[in-house]
């Protein structure tokens, strides 16, 4: 079963400040945590993809009616907390395992190594085999 594990820029349970306010050591520790988690999932044969996305300041929204020139909106966005920060695409045997991995991701370390408690959105990918109808 495939799941997307999505994280956005919204409020986190630990109320920790944005990464722009962390010490270099804390940033380094956070990055190391994410890389180690990815390596562990790869070793287990569960990681399909993991990416960080460019910051919300660089996001653009594109709207088009297919005829006129598209309307492209640059940031900053008042709702930037809803924007995606990054994702993992995992292939696991049970929903429980997907939730377990999400919990690990949620507890990534912030300032002073305290768990960030980031909400991780877990969404199943529609990748089951075709049934015969």
């Amino acid at each position: 079963m495939r799941f997307m594990l999505l994280q956005n820029y919204g409020r986190v349970e630990s109320d920790c400040p944005p990464m722009s306010e962390w010490s270099p050591e804390d940033i380094k520790a956070h990055i190391a945590f994410q890389q180690a988690l990815n390596a562990e999932l790869a070793e287990l044969g569960e990681l399909v993809d993991a990416q960080g996305l460019a910051g919300p300041e660089q996001a653009r929204f594109v709207v088009s009616d297919g005829a006129a020139a598209p309307v492209i909106t640059d940031g900053p966005f008042p709702e930037s907390k809803e924007l995606l920060a990054g994702y993992r695409l995992i292939d696991v045997e049970t929903v429980g395992r997907a939730l377990e991995i999400a919990a690990r991701a949620s507890a990534s370390p912030g300032p002073n190594g305290v768990a960030i408690q980031q909400p991780i959105e877990v969404r199943e990918v529609l990748s089951a085999p075709d049934p015969e109808l």
């Binding site: 079963m1 790869a42 070793e43 287990l44 044969g45 569960e46 990681l47 399909v48 993809d49 292939d91 045997e93 199943e124 529609l126 990748s127 089951a128 085999p129 075709d130 049934p131 015969e132 109808l133």
Partner: protein, 409 residues
Amino acid sequence: MAGGANLEDLLRELAPQVLGVLVRRHGDFADAEDAVQEALIAAATAWPADGTPDSPLGWLIRVASRRLANIYRRDDARRRREELAASWSAAGPDPAPGRDDTLILMFLCCHPSLTPALAIPLTLRAVGGLATREIAAAFLVPEATMGQRISRAKAKIKASGEPFRLPSAQDRPERLRLVLHVLYLLFNEGYTSSGGPDLARTDLSGEGIRMARAIHAAMPDDPEVTGLLALMLLTDARRPARTGAAGELIPLAEQDRARWDRPLIAEGTGLITAALRRGQVGEYQVQAAIAALHDQADAHDDTDWPQILSLYGLLESMTGNPMVRLNRAVAAAMARGPAAGLELLDGLDDRLGDHHRLHSVRAHLLEQAGDRRAAAGEFRAAAAGATNLRERQYLSTQAARLAGGQESP
């Protein structure tokens, strides 16, 4: 001289034989399997350039043995040599070498300590002779991820201490059941269409059939083995009609039966007929018998629904599987009218809850019963819970059709 497709077929044919010889001689399944993989890759490069050797099997055994020796030299050489010596003295008497090796490998790869997610790729590589890259492509994961998965599977087998021989007569029925289950799941994984023939992607259904044929050749008298092969052939026979030009799923009731594969139907029907004569009916035989009845009908309405209904009743009593009840309800509706089918669905909510298949079957029967509004609601609920994209598209389309007050397509 060594052509592309022929070379690939030859290597895949020989792969489990080479592995069998190496494991018998040197004792370590995991390392031997790595060595065989390396030898296959070497052959795929060398033979087109240098020509196929006079004894391809001998060539592969020699090269794989050398690779294995290198692996041992790279690792802790002395410990391995000691382990080797110990494994030779502990090995039991060999059955006919070679002939049973593919079978032994299948039992080994479908070991009870492996979940199907691990057993399937390991079986495809060690028994099927597929490359990691091909298996990864079939499951849409990176090659490294699939490689790791297979390594984990082999580590579990090693930890189990399972020897390289057929399971005892006492253990064999349960072990065989596991093998058949893995092959059945593998076959069903094959139905991930991508809207058209994708020649680069490994055909998992084809691989399932190939391995079912191999186990049938090794165990021709086992009726459930025969039943599984028959079921696969009879199901695969319908594949050409299952997807439309735009990749959409076409239900059985609407499939163009002229596109069904008649030779496969004939072969599958012959097999299931012979198996049933043995009088040891099992799950796969019943499912194959149902598939044969479908495949013999010229049209959906001409299908022997009463017989299929009775077979689903038998299957449900054998397995207690609530999903079988869903199929039985559809058959009951066709044989006796939608009310009979809907009645069978009562009580399934407790067992299946909000399952999308329960919603979609109920939707189908409600439409048959003339309650278009309720059917539309059930199709919407089914679509909301679907886990396959094309299935969801189909269900949404049905909901829209009924909500819009259109005639049935």
